[in-house]
């Protein structure tokens, strides 16, 4: 099959959906041509769809999301970009108090079908204000759906599902992942929200990872397969909410051991939520404590030598797997 980079898979999803559905439009900072967005995910959109549907904004994240909310309430399907997920802090009222709650507060009268695409994650020596992974905030907010693809295939299918969803979706794209390649069908397809993907089968241990860390978990799994004969199963929830608890539980019931990998600050992370769900559903199936391989509980430092120390890498995951197998 055709190979595409994540950023091109995203672009393809956006363009095909804009062709199909006149309600879809884009807004964000530096998204029009010739720039096409800081991550090049919208190249050519302005040229094809023009200034009404591809809207360059001021540096006004609160207004970007607010305008998306307003347009969605009027039946449009806005796809907003917040350049770095760190900047969602500027739009938290609109995300948390408006987008997430409008349906509820109005007793079901209102729908807010919007997508906020934003780049998360570390790895570019971009320091503490450009490297965060804030997914836990959104997972903690009822009313939001939260999506975090790891592969080009998932990126396209999940983005199409997100744009077509009736609820507000936070769509996290890892900034070290935009040029990752993989097979992507040309046709229209949807990866449904709430369906995990077992990215690698295994019987000895379950790894749950999302976004870029799925790729690192897969590498680590190959390494321990070769070096230790451990067969790790890698579950990628793909949507952090709705969470496909069943797929995770089925895997844990089979393997009885769990490693949770996340680039988030561990304290209060989505991974800790997964741990709680596992404990609730399969406490008696666990052979030992759940092992976390997470970012350290610090901001992200600038110097690459420290940044690498803070975020999990393949050796960290391998170590986590070996530790889990000892229990």
């Amino acid at each position: 099959m055709r190979q595409l980079m994540v950023r091109d898979a995203i672009k393809e999803a956006i363009k095909s959906e804009m062709r199909r559905d006149p309600r879809v439009f884009l807004l964000g900072e530096d998204i029009i041509d010739p720039w096409g967005g800081s991550w090049k995910t919208m190249e050519g959109c302005y040229t094809e769809f023009g200034p009404e549907r591809v809207r360059e904004t001021p540096i006004s994240e609160e207004a970007i999301v607010g305008a998306a909310v307003g347009a969605a309430l009027c039946g449009m399907r806005p796809v907003a970009e917040i350049m770095f997920s760190d900047f969602t802090t500027r739009a938290m009222d609109q995300i948390v108090n408006q987008a997430a709650k409008f349906r509820y507060m109005t007793g079901g009268q209102a729908s807010v079908p919007l997508v906020i695409r934003t780049a998360h994650g570390a790895g570019r020596a971009a320091a503490a204000q450009h490297s965060q992974s804030p997914e836990a905030w959104f997972v903690h907010t009822p009313g939001l759906k939260v999506v975090a693809p790891a592969t080009p295939y998932d990126a396209k299918g999940l983005l199409l599902a997100s744009i077509r969803d009736q609820d507000p979706v936070i769509f996290l794209e890892h900034k070290m992942n935009f040029t990752t390649e993989g097979p992507v069908p040309e046709e229209d397809y949807v990866v449904p929200l709430g369906k995990a993907d077992v990215k690698r089968q295994g019987k000895d241990l379950t790894i749950v990872a999302h976004s870029r860390q799925v790729l690192r978990a897969l590498e680590a799994a190959e390494q321990v397969a070769k070096e230790d004969g451990i067969e790790a199963e890698v579950v990628d929830p793909r949507t952090l909410f709705p969470l496909d608890v069943r797929t995770i539980v089925d895997s844990v019931k089979k393997t009885n051991r769990v490693v949770l990998v996340t680039e988030e600050v561990q304290r209060g992370s989505f991974a800790e939520h997964v741990a709680s769900k596992i404990m609730e559903k399969c406490f008696y199936d666990l052979d030992g404590p759940i092992i976390f391989v997470a970012a350290k509980n610090t901001p992200i430092p600038f110097a690459p030598v420290m940044e690498n120390f803070v975020i999990p890498d393949v050796p960290d995951i391998v170590a986590g797997i070996r530790q889990a197998m000892k229990a």
Partner: protein, 349 residues
């Protein structure tokens, strides 16, 4: 899929919206009657609250009726309106149904929000009302989003965005209006300047006296009018909406007015710090008798006719209370509905 939603769609007979066809007299009498609807409704809820029949955070619009009514006299049912925590007046002026409003305040299943929203979140989406809002200023960028939808679709609808003097100091004000100005959106930003933000007088929250001056920061037209003169409001709003409808972009309309009661009905101390003399002086400028006098003086209606209109409203109000009282409460588990449109099979909330 688990349907989380459903049952929310509301259809309201639009008998209460501003008359679009019909005579100037119809329009003026609609204005009078609508001011009375707001006055009597918000006056009564104070007593309903004090007698313990309704609860929650409630903000009375009494004294400010001319603003919502003067503005909404220019709106079509398909135009949008964005409201605030002090939203009853906007709802009624846009044509909302008093029964369903009252039922919402009574936390009943028949309320506009099925009891989920309460006073600060009443909306009627079928009337284009895009939120009351508990967050000061949050409606401003939302209004710009509605304007964006209109512009993309190319219709001649408009958006009326209401908020207070206090809201004009939020970042949302700045970002929302700058966006509307830059994009040339059909939104009128109505600053309902009642001179106080909660307990804080205007001079303590900004140095500026006429908030309309802020239009210059976005290069858009902006005027200040007497917000207790419904005709002045209606005329200025009419000009602003005409500009918006014809693609000439947004405006600011500042209406100076005053609320008679404390900031929030559920906060007994919330009139502290305002002089009784100031309140009394503003009560002399009551927009309703002032407008009644114009109507009578111009021979548009007799005092008896106006009295008759008021009695109709009184009946509507009594009916709404009876309706609300007779309505069922939501079930506790209804709290679990309407969080999402739908969730996948097997997915826990």
């Amino acid at each position: 899929m688990i349907q989380q939603d459903g049952g929310g769609a509301v259809t309201t007979a639009r008998t209460h919206a501003a008359p679009l066809i019909g005579s100037e007299r119809d329009r003026l009498l609609w204005m009078y009657k609508t001011m009375q609807r707001i006055r009597l409704f918000d006056d009564r809820i104070v007593r309903l609250f004090n007698s313990g029949r309704i609860t929650g955070a409630l903000h009375s619009y009494v004294g400010e009726e001319a603003v919502a009514v003067g503005v909404c006299a220019n709106l079509r049912p398909d135009d949008y309106l964005v409201s605030t925590h002090r939203g009853h007046g906007h709802m009624l002026a846009k044509g909302a149904d008093m029964d369903r409003m009252m039922a919402e305040l009574f936390a009943k299943e028949t309320g506009y929000c099925q009891g989920k929203g309460g006073s600060m979140h009443i909306v009627d989406m079928s009337l284009g009302i895009l939120g009351s809002n508990g967050i000061v200023g949050a409606g401003i960028p939302i209004a710009s989003g509605a304007g964006t939808a209109i512009k993309i679709r190319g219709t001649d609808q408009v958006v009326s965005c209401h908020f207070g003097d206090g809201a004009s100091n939020t970042g949302a004000f700045h970002e929302g209006i700058n966006l509307a100005a830059t994009w040339g959106l059909p939104v009128v930003f109505v600053i309902e300047n009642n001179l106080y933000a909660q307990f804080t007088p205007q001079r303590m929250h900004t140095k500026v006296v006429d908030l309309a001056v802020r239009g210059q920061a976005y290069d858009i037209p902006a005027v200040s009018v007497d917000g207790n003169d419904v005709l002045a409001v209606s005329e200025a709003a009419g000009e602003a909406f005409a500009r918006a409808r014809s693609g000439k972009g947004p405006s600011i309309l500042e209406c100076k007015t005053f609320r008679w009661f404390g900031h929030a009905i559920n906060n007994p101390g919330s009139n502290l710090g305002r002089d009784q003399a100031e309140i009394d002086a503003w009560k002399l400028k009551d927009p309703i008798p002032r407008f009644a006098k114009v109507l009578v003086d111009r021979g548009i209606a007799t005092e008896a006719e106006l009295e008759g209109l008021k009695r109709v409203v009184e009946e509507e109000l009594e009916h709404s209370i009876a309706f609300a009282e007779a309505s069922p409460s939501p079930k506790p588990e209804d709290a679990l509905r309407h969080v999402y449109s739908e969730l996948p099979e097997g997915c826990e909330l």
